[in-house]
């Protein structure tokens, strides 16, 4: 099990407004010490002291740059449908503020044996790709990058990715002009594809790659925040307490809001730290951790991303 309780205290060094919806946040160690190093693709979870909430909101963000000396850099999009985390960062956070964060964790690492790295990003899913790109440029590895962005966002994405002459970097205005199947069909043996973006895009990459015979070990995805769904009710077997899970809230957030000390790490369905036993009800699994058999049995659930098909889900805690 990968758990650590070590927390970092970070100071906001600068906030750059890249566009009305995008902000780059530069974080350094509050005590001026070196920060833990992090490989490209790593993320940290910030504890955001929302003024309205009793408990801090925990949100995971990818590190677009992580240098122990100069600090961590995040790029955060203001989410319209949000629990307030990104709005807090955009509207309230200011240089000099202190913020608590987890150590960096990496569940979306570059594969060292790959002959070629194919990077596909959708929207704010560009963040790990920026970190990948810096590493791939430095090592001279073979890569190709396709970023899909809303037409209005093209300039800001071009600024973030900063393509250099001759690089196979493509920024597409929307999905329409992006020929996914032809792209995957043309990749040489030994290619690894990394996709970060909306669930629909990542599902399409995964399904198309599988149909073209790509082995699953060559297909990597990173998704944070695919949270929403029908509201349902949690019941705790130990004390019969019921907890409502709202449509725009994850099961884990509902548990945390009810004051239950639920361990978690990636909050994206990948690490397995938050796994909970299920006594009754039918979970709707959305994680990438449980195997097919475990999903069918329905005896456990990952509350960070998964939901419930039945109106009530009874957790054995």
């Amino acid at each position: 099990m990968i758990i650590d309780s070590q927390a970092l205290t970070l100071r906001v060094a600068a906030i750059d407004r890249l566009s009305p919806d995008l902000a780059a946040v530069h974080l350094v160690a509050a005590d001026g010490a070196r920060l833990p190093p992090a490989a490209p693709g790593a993320h940290i979870t910030l504890s955001l002291p929302l003024p309205v909430a009793a408990r801090p909101l925990r949100n995971s963000y990818t590190l677009v740059a992580a240098d122990p000396e100069t600090g961590y850099r995040l790029v955060i999009r203001r989410a319209a449908r949000s629990r307030g985390g990104s709005q807090f960062i955009h509207d309230r956070l200011a240089p000099g503020d202190l913020i608590s964060a987890t150590m960096p964790h990496n569940l979306f690492a570059l594969h060292s044996q790959a002959k070629k790295h194919l990077l596909i990003g959708g929207g704010i899913g560009v963040t790990p790709l920026i970190a990948f790109l810096a590493r791939l440029r430095a090592t001279g590895a073979r890569f190709e990058l396709h970023q899909i962005a809303a037409p209005a966002d093209l300039p800001v994405f071009a600024q973030l990715i900063d393509p250099r002459a001759g690089e196979p970097v493509h920024i597409h205005p929307g999905r329409a002009g992006f020929a996914l199947e032809a792209l995957l069909r043309a990749q040489p043996l030994g290619t690894h594809v990394y996709c970060c973006g909306p669930a629909g895009l990542m599902d399409a990459v995964e399904a198309t790659a599988a149909r073209l015979g790509w082995p699953a070990s060559h297909v990597h995805r990173e998704d944070f925040g695919a949270a929403g769904g029908e509201p349902f009710t949690l019941r705790l077997a130990s004390d019969d307490r019921t907890i409502a899970v709202a449509a725009d809230q994850t099961m884990l957030e509902a548990l945390e809001a009810a004051g239950i000390d639920a361990p978690s790490l990636c909050r994206g369905g990948a690490c397995g730290v938050c796994l909970m036993p299920v006594r009754e009800g039918q979970p709707e699994h959305r994680d990438h951790y449980l195997g097919e058999d475990e999903r069918r049995e329905g005896r456990c659930v990952m509350p960070c991303v998964s939901r419930s098909r039945s109106p009530v889900l009874v957790l054995d805690i």
């Binding site: 044996q113 790959a114 002959k115 070629k116 995957l184 069909r185 043309a186 990749q187 040489p188 043996l189 030994g190 290619t191 790659a209 599988a210 073209l212 015979g213 790509w214 082995p215 699953a216 070990s217 060559h218």
Partner: protein, 192 residues
């Protein structure tokens, strides 16, 4: 044999086309694929493209990826062409190799160099129980060892053939058996 050491002997399963693949290539070091290399109910035609080794063949090279049987004059000829073939290949191929153990792991080495991973390579070693042994003292390769103790042709050490196979070096490990007490060489047994 020397004191038992943990075995990492490879286990082989008769070949069957991977239904998830976009294309298949089956290679063998024989003139024709041995039916025992295939799982029950599987025929060579199901793999599409089959490469064999047949001495003195006069077949003209054919386009890569074309289905049917293509013959090569030697194993080294086949392995060289396999390297070119894989360099021009796109994702979705599964490679299958049937033959003696040193051959199938040579194929695996070519595939690995081309970027293929474990899920994309399927091996079936069969034929005589010959082991390719590497002397850990002088790195001489003994190509076809049949006994548990053998004299190294490079440095003369009496090597015990351990049940340890290097998938990277494509060789079994040979370690001097009488290093502790010179001359105390156990009787050689036939390797299974």
């Amino acid at each position: 044999m020397t004191a038992a050491t943990p075995s990492n002997r490879p286990h082989y399963h008769p070949l069957r086309p991977d239904s998830a693949a976009r294309a298949h290539l089956l290679v063998t070091d024989r003139a024709a694929l041995d039916p025992s290399a295939l799982a029950d109910g599987v025929s060579a035609e199901q793999f599409g493209e089959v490469w064999v080794v047949a001495g003195h063949v006069h077949t003209l090279p054919r386009p890569f990826g074309e289905s049917g049987v293509q013959a090569f004059r030697s194993v080294s000829h086949l392995l060289t062409m396999l390297g070119h073939r894989l360099a021009a290949e796109t994702m979705g191929l599964r490679l299958y190799a049937a033959g003696i153990e040193p051959f199938v792991w040579d194929v695996a080495g070519v595939a690995r160099a081309a970027g293929m991973g474990r899920e994309e390579i399927h091996l079936f070693a069969h034929g005589p129980a010959l082991r390719r042994v590497s002397c850990v003292h002088c790195r001489t390769i003994l190509p076809a060892v049949t006994t548990s103790v053998v004299a190294c042709t490079g440095c003369g050490a009496m090597l015990g053939v351990r049940d340890h196979f290097s998938r990277v070096h494509n060789a079994w490990m040979g370690v001097q058996v009488d290093a502790e007490e010179p001359g105390d060489v156990p009787a050689a047994e036939e390797l299974a």
